[in-house]
């Protein structure tokens, strides 16, 4: 096994809401290899975004972190702000769900790109301008030089996401975390943006973490997928395996809720119940109350993740040893 680019170990996040302390992440283990594309799937509130915001120290003062985030041998959890700032953008870039409000409304695109170039590559003036135009061109924005003078409100959501990607590329990072990058966009634009991310990955060898609630999107764009539920990774497997042999009942539930293009028509099966609130988790396995294969032992303790097959992990007491 090569040295992972980033290695998240037993990461926990607690939010202090003033009234109570709510645990949002319950010990997440996730390693990403250089150049790898990993998908992170789960319903809203399952901790997909929180995992990466926590890793980069972007959760603010109300969040308390535990565990480790190892990046180039250093633990980012609890490290100095300056150290985190040196990693953010420069080594690990992040783009977000709502591109239009992720750009500052009062500055022109060129100025915002210039800010990233100045910050990470010490560029200024005409050199920065030329590089900004090249980056916009790179992400498929036509007439790049003229677009530099536009404000975010003058561009469409898809264009703004391209600008965000260009800005992320400014520092030539080793990894890009794309947090639901296409959720706010039209289906056609969504495909273009994902295609662009693939293309950039091929060209630069950058690792990609694609956060999505859409298994289909993740399947087409990543090599490996981690399924999250209620602040835990419940299954971690190569894309092919997850569709062929899902080991966790939650993953199976997600898959049977997806329509199939081929084969006989069948009724889509929804997972019964709702995601539990983080301050009101059931005992033992968080998925137990909604699980079709529930048994008494599920309530004893949260199941540890076990290796079902090589590179395929699942956190279910029935996974691995016993067949279902």
């Amino acid at each position: 096994m090569p040295q992972p680019l980033i290695d998240i170990r037993k990461l926990t996040v607690d939010f202090d809401t003033g009234r109570r302390i709510v645990r949002a992440l319950h010990g997440v283990d996730l390693a990403v290899q250089p150049g790898e594309a990993v998908g992170l799937v789960g319903e809203s509130g399952s901790g997909k975004s929180v995992t990466w915001l926590a890793a980069l120290g972007l959760l603010g003062s109300r969040a308390r972190l535990g565990g480790q985030v190892l990046f180039e041998g250093r633990n980012l959890v609890g490290s100095a702000v300056a150290e985190l700032e040196a990693v953010r953008g420069a080594c690990i870039a992040m783009i977000f769900q709502d591109p239009s409000s992720s750009l500052d409304p009062v500055y022109r695109i060129g100025k915002q790109l210039g800010e990233a170039l100045q910050l990470h590559r010490g560029m200024a003036g005409t050199a920065a301008l030329a590089e900004a135009a090249r980056l916009l061109d790179r992400v498929g924005i036509a007439d790049a030089r003229r677009r530099l003078g536009d404000y975010p409100h003058e561009l469409s959501g898809g264009m703004n996401q391209r600008v965000m990607i260009a800005m992320a590329l400014a520092a030539e990072p080793q990894m890009l975390v794309a947090d639901e990058p296409t959720t706010a966009l039209d289906a056609t634009i969504q495909a273009q943006i994902l295609e662009l991310l693939q293309e950039i990955r091929r060209d630069t060898g950058m690792a990609l973490v694609l956060i999505s609630h859409d298994l289909g999107v993740v399947a087409e764009n990543t090599d490996r997928v981690c399924v999250m539920y209620a602040g835990r990774i419940v299954e971690d497997a190569p894309i092919g395996t997850i569709f062929a042999e899902p080991a966790h009942p939650y993953t199976r539930g997600l898959l049977s809720a997806l329509p199939e293009l081929t084969g006989p028509r069948r009724r889509l099966v929804a997972i019964p119940g709702v995601v539990p609130e983080p301050w009101n988790l059931p005992r033992g396995c968080s998925f137990a109350p909604r699980c079709a294969a529930f048994e008494a032992a599920c309530e004893a303790a949260a199941p540890a993740s076990v290796e079902v097959a090589q590179g395929h992990w699942a956190a279910c007491i029935r996974a691995g040893g016993r067949n279902l």
């Binding site: 992720s102 500052d104 409304p105 409100h153």
Partner: protein, 307 residues
């Protein structure tokens, strides 16, 4: 842009016209200046003569047309008290008012804006809570109460400052502080909420994710965006530079426009009251136009002028 500005100016004139008209009729309907100025026991002939000389014997609409006609030529009538042009009386008082309202305005900004920013950046800290308690106290307390408390402390008890009058810089301090404290309280609260609103925006997190140090995120992204709503409030404060000190000027016997207004109203000195109201309306309306133009300058989204 020119069309927008022309429309804006036209609306401003209409606003001023309505204020003047409203003031004219309300003043005529709310009491007889002849009886007040001449006293009730004056001989009926002199009262009639007074009415005639000021045109008060004419029907109200004739008086109104005459007034508007004169106003358009810049003649706002004479004071019924001392016969001098009303506009002159008012203009004489403006420097005294500005002498306390301008320093108070600067004080509001110098205290209110930084306090609001600090409170927002240290949300829920002791400093934040203290700022907000002071702020609530500052803008809920009527200015005459604060004025009296300050007089009690600094003039009566400590004897450091004079309690009223206008005989030098020392006399201006308490009026300035009274005016400034309330405004600073409002501005602190407003700036804080504007900052909190901006700090919660996705682009702030995106700027941090870019690797920008927090200091620069605040200075380059949070402050310029929070300046947009804060400008509105500051603009309104500019609008009150002339008329915002009525109570404070009365409490401290400060010879400004506000005190002139109180005296003129009490005396039914119609021309003077109207001249002041016209001036107040004009400053408010100009401040609003200035705010609108400033908006376009600081917020690019506002530059597309609605047609």
């Amino acid at each position: 842009m020119m069309r927008y500005l022309a429309g804006r100016l036209l609306r401003a004139m209409l606003t001023i016209f309505l204020v003047v008209t409203f003031a004219f009729f309300v003043l005529r309907l709310s009491g007889d200046p002849a009886l007040l100025i001449m006293s009730v026991d004056a001989p009926p002939e002199s009262i009639a003569a007074f009415r005639q000389s000021w045109g008060l014997d004419q029907p109200v609409w004739v008086q109104y047309l005459a007034y508007i006609g004169h106003a358009l030529t810049g003649d706002l009538g004479n004071s019924m008290r001392d016969g001098r042009p009303a506009i002159q009386l008012v203009v004489e008082r403006i420097p005294a008012t500005l002498a306390i309202t301008v320093p108070a305005f600067l004080l509001k900004i110098a205290i209110g804006v930084p306090a609001g920013i600090y409170a927002a950046l240290h949300r829920n800290s002791l400093a934040d809570r203290l700022t907000m308690v002071l702020s609530v106290a500052g803008f809920t307390m009527p200015s005459f109460v604060l004025a009296l408390l300050l007089v009690l402390l600094f003039a009566v008890r400590l004897g450091w400052l004079p309690s009223s009058g206008a005989d030098g810089i020392a006399y201006a301090i308490l009026p300035i502080v009274t005016l400034g404290a309330a405004g600073a309280a409002i501005l602190a609260r407003f700036t804080r909420s504007a900052m909190l609103e901006v700090l919660g925006q996705p682009f702030i997190r995106a700027a941090s994710a870019k690797g920008l140090p927090w200091r620069r995120v605040v200075a380059e992204h949070a402050l310029p965006n929070a300046a947009i709503p804060t400008t509105t409030i500051i603009g309104f404060m500019v609008g009150t530079l002339i008329a915002g000190a009525v109570v404070v000027e009365s409490v401290f016997a400060w010879p400004g426009v506000g005190r002139l207004l109180v005296v003129a109203v009490a005396n039914r000195d119609l021309a003077v009251v109207q001249a002041i109201l016209l001036l107040v309306a004009a400053t408010m309306v100009s401040a609003n136009i200035a705010v609108d133009l400033l908006y376009g300058w600081i917020d690019p989204r506002m530059r597309q002028v609605p047609r």
